[in-house]
Amino acid sequence: MSARAHAPDLAPEPAILLEQVVKRYGAHRALAGVDLQVRRGERLVICGPSGSGKSTLIRCINALERHDAGRIVVNGIALTNDEGTVQDIRQEVGMVFQHFNLFPHLTALENCMLAPRLNRGLSKAQAEKLAMAHLERVHLADQARKYPARLSGGQQQRVAIARALCMEPRILLFDEPTSALDPEMVKEVLGVIEELAASGVTMICVTHEMGFARRVADRCVFMDRGEIVEEGDAAGFFEAPESERLRHFLAQILR
């Protein structure tokens, strides 16, 4: 474990622990035995070429994909096939998707209120207060009454972030949160994520936004063909990549 733990009273166990995690799709190994530890409060960026397994990796953490072998422990809860365990982990882990996946039949506010009302039994007034607070946080309080179809891509993604925050998760997973956005909207979404990063929540972000990675990430991980090829702090990672595969990848995306 790293010596970078901020406070001595933090529990020693990592926020996320992956040991030899394997995920297969038929004969294809999407994850070929991945080991990864994420400390509490750490901000991790995962990058890699398409099909390298980075989305699969974070989708295994909240059991949207079930891993075939290895061990996954999230906030001290070992992920098994037991439905209760899966639910427990999902209460701790928020996720933001590439394509937002907002509920189209609900307003921005109702999108944020649904899970707290259903999972935590909050009253309508309580859920609404909570939802408004988080919409405020993503600078969308004035759009709360609108349906997703009425919002821009950037606004929709910020609602999706607020929706995840309403469950007050200790860990946030971002699966290419800006890849489906028009270029002029990328900044507003990254800005919100950077503000969150400053709040101390544990964060894993799959992204190709290298500027963002440099500003925010404590650590960067490069994946290729289902395995972690290289990892390091953001500066060294981009300036002095060690592996040939990462050099090749960086050359491709920074063209």
Binding site: N62, L64, Q87, R90, Q91, V93, G94, M95, F97, H99, N101, L102, F103, P104, H105, L106, T107, L109, E110, L114, A115, L118, N119, K124, E128, K129, M132, R145, K146, Y147, P148, A149, R150, A160, R163, A164, M167
Partner: protein, 255 residues
């Protein structure tokens, strides 16, 4: 013979009888629609189950009852089941001993078989990503169904449902073959008494037309209310629209 194909005096005299017939037709529409829909849900779940032992019987049900012509189904239930002595002496004879009971059973089974497929198609149309987003929020499967999948499926399937209901209404006319005096049977008996084929049949047609169009208008409003999220902002901000529906009462503005 006058220029009009219908005899206004006869039409006027026939009205009370035709209204009685319409009442029977409405009854034989509404009850099987409710029973058929209630049956369709569990059969649809079975049909969509990955377990073959559940899916196969459900599929056979659909293939059989959708394939069997309603008229033949009705004959089989009404004349066929009466041949079984055990049934005649059993408790279910209350249902199968009466033409109404038989008609309701046959119509319900027919409607259920069609609705299983309408329901299945609508549920399959719900984008997978939206269901995943609900799972990631830790919402239970049951709540995902109630609050996300079903509300969206209803919107996708409303037109198909409307078609099924409208064709079902007209299909009820065949119950006259098992001695039930529905709208069609009333018209037919007036024809047999007066030898005027046009007046009663055209009057009955007008009654069917009015009933079907009432349903159509109902569906149009229902669809408009359900589709409000695609058309405009939440009606909450527009005082004049509050009457349109439940949403107005469900959210309140907190400035």
């Amino acid at each position: 013979m006058n220029a009009l194909p219908i005899d206004p005096a006869l039409a006027w005299e026939s009205l009370p009888a035709l209204f009685d017939g319409l009442g029977v037709t409405v009854f034989l529409t509404v009850l099987p629609l409710l029973i058929g829909l209630a049956l369709a849900f569990p059969i649809c779940f079975a049909r969509m189950s990955p377990r073959r032992a559940l899916a196969l019987p459900a599929e056979i049900f659909v293939v059989f009852f959708r394939g069997a012509p309603l008229l033949i189904l009705l004959y089989l239930v009404y004349y066929g089941l009466g041949q079984i002595e055990a049934l005649r002496n059993g408790p279910f004879w209350i249902v199968f001993g009466s033409p109404f009971g038989c008609a309701i059973v046959a119509l319900s089974l027919n409607h259920a078989a069609y609705m299983v497929e309408v329901l299945r198609g609508s549920l399959l149309a719900v984008p997978h990503g939206i269901v995943e987003a609900s799972e990631a929020l830790g919402i239970t499967r049951r709540n995902i169904f109630l609050w996300v999948r079903m509300p969206l499926a209803l919107r996708y399937g409303l037109k198909a449902y409307q078609n099924e209901v409208v064709s079902f209404v007209k299909g009820t006319a065949i119950v006259s073959v098992v001695t039930i005096t529905d709208l069609m049977a009333v018209a037919n008996s007036i024809f047999e008494q007066t030898y005027d084929p046009f007046t009663p049949i055209l009057c009955a047609a007008a009654f069917y037309w009015a009933f079907v169009n009432l349903i159509r208008v109902g569906f149009t409003f229902w669809g408009r209310w359900l589709g409000r999220h695609t058309a405009e902002d939440a009606p909450v901000a527009l005082p004049g629209r509050q009457g349109l529906g439940g949403l107005a009462g469900r959210v309140k503005v907190t400035p």
